[in-house]
């Protein structure tokens, strides 16, 4: 089963310019999301976007800078969940830059997709509870119909 996402993009600009857009908060916001990023290893920051109910994500991504190799590599953790501090998505984002004659190759790897905190299980239990509720409703309905007739 696939557990990671990879993208490889070529830009005309130099690694220096690309690096600025990966590591300066107000420049990141121009293309990615509003954030309070700081290029300091260990720094904890957040990205904010709209909630994504279909994925049970509240739209806040909790991140921590893990590695900085200026102009070459940047990585941060990327966590999210339905809210109330519950984390169901616990992943890793890694950027690497390769200098080209007339531009930069930017590689993105977003990895570690697996189910944390038993979200599978809660999902399944919720599903079953709903089914049970439906069945009970149906049984009550049948009972009422029988007593009415």
């Amino acid at each position: 089963m696939r557990t990671e996402i990879k993208h490889r993009w070529v830009y005309e600009q130099s690694p220096n310019e690309i690096w600025e857009y990966l590591t300066q908060s107000e420049l990141i916001a121009l293309w990615l999301m509003p954030n309070n990023f700081q290029a300091v290893v260990g720094y904890e920051f957040e990205f904010h976007t709209n909630p994504i109910p279909s994925l049970e994500l509240d739209g806040i991504f909790y991140c921590k800078v893990l590695e900085i190799v200026p102009l070459k590599k940047l990585s941060y953790s990327w966590k999210g969940g339905p809210g109330n501090g519950i984390i169901t998505l616990d992943t890793l984002v890694e950027w690497t830059l390769e200098k080209q004659d007339n531009g930069t190759i930017l590689n993105l790897k977003h990895s570690g997709f697996k189910v944390e905190n038993y979200s599978i299980l809660t999902g399944m239990i919720d599903g079953w509870l709903k089914n049970i509720q439906k069945m009970l409703n149906q049984l009550n309905k049948n009972k009422n119909e029988n007593t009415n007739s």
Partner: protein, 107 residues
């Protein structure tokens, strides 16, 4: 009369079976490895696994001589939803970056 839905509820009401499901959220295991996590006998663990399988919570995959327990599809769909979402998400964002960089250079 049989009430399969209530049976399923009873399936997850049992702490040992919940523990098996918890373990399987982390990885797939064969029955022996699963049994090592419990004080009860291997046949007892097997019985629980059988119950979970019948209720559709897990499936058994044969790999060589070993039989592995894996969680049933619902959970994996969730992971795929995430992957598909973020795959598109990053593609859009990297395209944004291209546009932003181009605009900046023409200014």
């Amino acid at each position: 009369m049989r009430t399969p839905t209530l049976d399923a509820f009873q399936v997850i009401a049992d702490p040992s079976r919940r523990k098996i499901l918890h373990l399987l959220t982390q990885d797939s295991y064969n029955i022996n490895t699963l049994a090592e996590n419990f004080e009860m006998s291997r046949p007892a663990v097997s019985k629980h696994i059988k119950v979970l399988q019948t209720a559709g919570f897990i499936s058994i995959q044969e790999r060589g001589r070993e039989r592995y327990c894996v969680l049933s599809h619902e959970g994996f769909n969730e992971i795929n939803n995430w992957l598909n979402h973020f795959d598109k998400f990053w593609n859009n964002k990297l395209k944004n970056l291209e546009t932003v960089l181009r605009t900046k250079n023409t200014n």
